[in-house]
Symmetry: C2
Subunit: 202 residues, 2 copies
DNA sequence: CACCTATGTTAACGGTGATAACATTAAGTT
DNA sequence: AACTTAATGTTATCACCGTTAACATAGGTG
C-alpha cells in the first residue's frame, strides 16, 4: 500500500485508506466494515485513521465518491456506441444501472442506503455530472424527437424512470425481486417499463 | 411489560421482547437497536433474551413479522370503501404502500433491507396473504375488465407496479427522491406510472 | 540547531453481541 | 411431600467495536 521512505510516517494514508476501504468493501460484499480492518490492510494502527477522517462515516463518505465515479464509468461505456436520445440509448442506460447494482452490490448500497449522514449522500449525488443528468438529457432528446408535446415533462419523466430502475435494482439487490414471480427478470421488466412510460398519454 | 407473579421468571419474555423491540425501533426511528436496550425496556438482563432468540437477527426477524401485519393493515383500510379492480383501487393500494414507507420508516427498512438473514425475509414476505397478492388480484381484475388481451400478463404487471412503487418509496425513504427534481411528489409520480403501465401497448 | 506541526504510536473507555457458569423456579414422578 | 429435571433467569467474562487521550517521531521553517 504505497509507503514512503519513513517506516513511521506513511506518506499518503488518506488516499490509501480510501482505496483499502473500497477494496475491503468489494471483497466482503458489504459496506459493513471496520476501521481496524482498514487500518490493518494499510499496515497502520487504528487511531491513525482518525488523523484523516473525523469518524467512520467520513471514511465511508469518501468511498462513496469513488462509487459515483464507478457508476459513471458503467454508463459511459454503455452509451459509447449508441446514438443519443434513442430508445436503445435509454435501454442501455437502464441496463447499466441494473448491472452496476448487481455487479457492485455493496457500492450500490453505500450510495443510496440511509446510514449516517444523509446530506452528504444528497450532495455527492448532485455534485458531478451524474447518471441522472445523462438520463435526463437522453429523455429530453427522445421526447423532442418522438413526443414534442411532452418535452416539458422531461424532468418528471426522468425522475419516474430513475425511480422505476431504482426499484427494480433495489429489489434485486435485496434478493426480493423474484419473491412472487420466480421468473422475474430485471432487464426485461425495465424495458417494459421504459416503453410504457415513454408512450403514455398517446 | 406484563410480568408474572414471580419476580425472577418473567412469564412471557419472548413476546414482550418482540413488542419492546418494535416500540424501541419506532421510537428511535431506526432498526439499529441493541439487545441491551430491549432487555432494559423489559426489565431483564441482557443474556436472558438469548434463551428465546438465537441471536440479534432472530429478534429482528420476529419484529419483521409484525411489520407485515402493519402494512396489511394500511392496505386493508385503504381499500375498504373502494370497488376492487378499478383504477382508484390501484391508486389506493400504491398510496398505502407509500404512506407506510414514510409513516413507518424504520419498519419499512426492516422489511426489505439486506441485513442478516435474507431467506427469512423472503419467507416472511411470501408466508401470508401479503400486499403483493392483493395488488396482483386487483390488477388481474382490472385487466380482465379493461384489457382482456393482457390478462395473462397480470403477474408481470404486478411485479412491475410493485417495483415502481418500491423504487419511489425507497428513494423517498432515503430522502433521495427530490435530489434532482425538488418538486418531485411520490404520490403523483406513482399515479403517473400506474396509468402508463396499465395503458401500455394500446 | 530549535521549535512547531503533522502524523504516527500505545493505552484506555464505554458499549456491543455473544457465551459460560451458576441460581432459581415450575413441572413431573414417585 | 420429596426428588429430579428442564426451563429460564442471573452475573461474570470475552473479543471486538468506535473513539479519545497521551505520548513519540518525523519533516519543515525560524
Amino acid at each position: 500500500m504505497n509507503q514512503s521512505i519513513s517506516p513511521y510516517h506513511h506518506g499518503d494514508l488518506r488516499n490509501c485508506a480510501i482505496i483499502a476501504a473500497a477494496e475491503l468493501i468489494e471483497s466482503i460484499g458489504s459496506y459493513d466494515i471496520t476501521i481496524s480492518q482498514v487500518a490493518k490492510r494499510v499496515g497502520v494502527s487504528t487511531p491513525a485513521l482518525y488523523r484523516h477522517f473525523t469518524d467512520k462515516d467520513a471514511l465511508l463518505t469518501a468511498v462513496r465518491e469513488l462509487t459515483h465515479l464507478g457508476i459513471m464509468d458503467y454508463i459511459t461505456r454503455a452509451q459509447a456506441d449508441i446514438e443519443h436520445g434513442t430508445l436503445a440509448h435509454l435501454d442501455a442506460l437502464g441496463s447499466a444501472y441494473l448491472r452496476y447494482a448487481t455487479d457492485k452490490k455493496a457500492f450500490f448500497g453505500l450510495m443510496w442506503e440511509d446510514h449516517g449522514d444523509t446530506e452528504s449522500r444528497r450532495a455527492e449525488a448532485r455534485a458531478k455530472r451524474t447518471g441522472f443528468q445523462v438520463l435526463h438529457e437522453a429523455i429530453e432528446l427522445y421526447l423532442q424527437r418522438h413526443k414534442p408535446e411532452s418535452a416539458g415533462e422531461s424532468l418528471k419523466t426522468a425522475t419516474l424512470m430513475w425511480s422505476t430502475a431504482h426499484g427494480i435494482a433495489t429489489l434485486q439487490h435485496n434478493r426480493m425481486l423474484d419473491t412472487f414471480d420466480e421468473d422475474a427478470d430485471a432487464h426485461t421488466l425495465l424495458r417494459t417499463a421504459t416503453r410504457a412510460i415513454l408512450q403514455s398519454g398517446e
